[in-house]
Amino acid sequence: MDKGTEPLESLRREVRDWLEANAPKDWRAACTGHAAFLDTQRGWFAKLAEGGYAVPHWPAEWPGGGRTLAEQKVIYEELARADTPRLLLSFMSTYHAASTLFEWGSAAQQAHYIPRILQGEIWCQGFSEPNAGSDLAALRCRAERRGDVYVVNGQKLWSTMGQFADKCLLLVRTSSEGAKQAGLTYLLLDLKAKGVTVRPIHQIHGDEEFAEVFLDDVEVPVADRLGEEGQGWAVAQSTLSSERGLTLMELSARMRGSQWRIADLIRASGREEDAGVLRDFGRLATKIDAAVAIADQFLANRIAGEERVGDASLVKLTYSRTLRAFTDLGVRLGGIGAQYHEPIVFGGGMETGNWMADFMNSYAWTIAGGSDEVQRNIIAERLLGMPREPKGWTVGAAA
């Protein structure tokens, strides 16, 4: 074994041993409702934090932090391999909130918020709005400064896990002058504050992973602002780029590990000798391996400092299309059986074997986090150098 990989392999053994003793077993069967989902998520996060594996991406001064990207990769590979629950509930807190606080937070803000995240405080993101999705900078949620507080009014949409969250990363408009990006400000909102209403969004597969947040004269102390007034767009970029490519590597590895579900389906339906079915399965398996390979390659390039603008979009688009193909084959092979409604597993991951639910859930990756169409624009314009569309198109101009 070469010297460079030896410490990583020793970490791998250490994590694997720890998971064998500590990973929850049969957790999917228990996750039939939100209460059980929250219990599973909270319990597993606390356990991981105690084991020192919950926040490997944090700076070294925090317990469990200071891991290199290569070490983080090993930890996530092992978590995927052991089929542990993905950390859905704490994801925004440990990545988006923490990374933004590390980059933009004052010493006082970090000292206040970071330890609480490690103790399980849950954050959500308040960026999107009914009329600001892919075009985020068009957001209109208004904050007005009155002495030591901002008074906020407006509506936020698609806040992942918002209904279970304690705090919210809130992007608001403090000015309508100049470029639309220049009038934004970044606030840390306590969701228990007066005037906040959070409602879950019922998705087409029956889960409620997202929420909408209504803000009615909500007061946010000026001390809870990140960066300066008008600097919100720059702060938000830190939030959006906080995740370092590990998620898609982990998700691709989990997808590869879930192929047995298709194999099960082929056997259960007695189609082991059906050449068409075998061909489709072989084709899918090859595409899955390609998705794993490009996610691995991306991370390796990042570790080596060789990432190009647009590479992340290639990985996300590959994953989202492959996941759709995976769940689509499940629905097809599942036949009428897949059409009978089965209760979903809350937080069960992208591949649960409840095929219609998995298929519908796969839209989470073709739409959320920058839709496939946004990724295609990024690939075409930034990676391939095709010209951007001129700005300033309006309905009036078209007439």
Partner: protein, 315 residues
Amino acid sequence: MTLTRTELEEAARKAFEGALAEDRWSMIADMGLLMAAVPDARGGLGLGGEAVGAIHVELGRALVSGPAIAQMMAIEALAGSDAPAELLDRAMAGDVMTASLAADGTLTCVPDADRASHMLVAEPGRVALVPLDGATITPRETWDRTRRLFDVAPSDDRIVLAEGSAADALAERIERLMLLALAGDSLGGADAILTLTIDYLKTRRQFDRPLALFQALKHRVADMKTQLAAADALFRARAAGQASLVEIGALKAHATTVYRAIAEEAVQLHGGIGLTMEHHCHLFLKRATLNAALGGDADRREAAAGREKLARAFA
């Protein structure tokens, strides 16, 4: 020799730059590309599957004609047996020794047989080199003019390289190399025609703007790029790793499918000029479809991959 894979890749790319569909046989031999996979001890460069793959990516990028894939198969067989060193040395130096790329046991789809001294023949339980002196060699005109294929009816002379289980193992290595080479050739060609297409869209103007400004076209190009990038990552992973023969077959199927899709789109995105003989779009489209047909079709390769996955799931 201390040539690395990257050096080889860059040298090959430079060597073929600017050429399209030309025969660069003496250059290929002089650069040592044919001996890349041959162990040091037998006079080769001792490079692994990744390097061999990279060479074929570059050959495919420039649509280089000639029997490089078949020649490397013959060399792999010679290096993997105790055939006389003289034969191996001749083959590495560029004396043409060819092989069938048909993958169905027939002696068809043999590149450049008319200028070959020998041909590799892999039969069940026996791998042999056949002198082509007394052979009947029939040219088969293909749509793809970047390759010259022949049917061969050889004489009964055989220089036996391996027999029994050793022959089967050697035949597997040869097949593996063929599939990897066809996959690499396809990804190189796909990358070249995609780059040409993007350049064309940036230059060609209609409705007072470059075609590259139209989102409908941008999105198609982005999809082409994404398919290619993922296939390329898979290619590198499988060429370097411990993939089974069936997985290499599925890789070849995937790479040729992606090549075909990109070459098809390229003709469409070039519009009228893409339909003409003077433009090079058609060269890529034809090589893509030929690559898809050589080495066994995608449907069977993919079905085999599905069968292997299924067996492993219940192992």
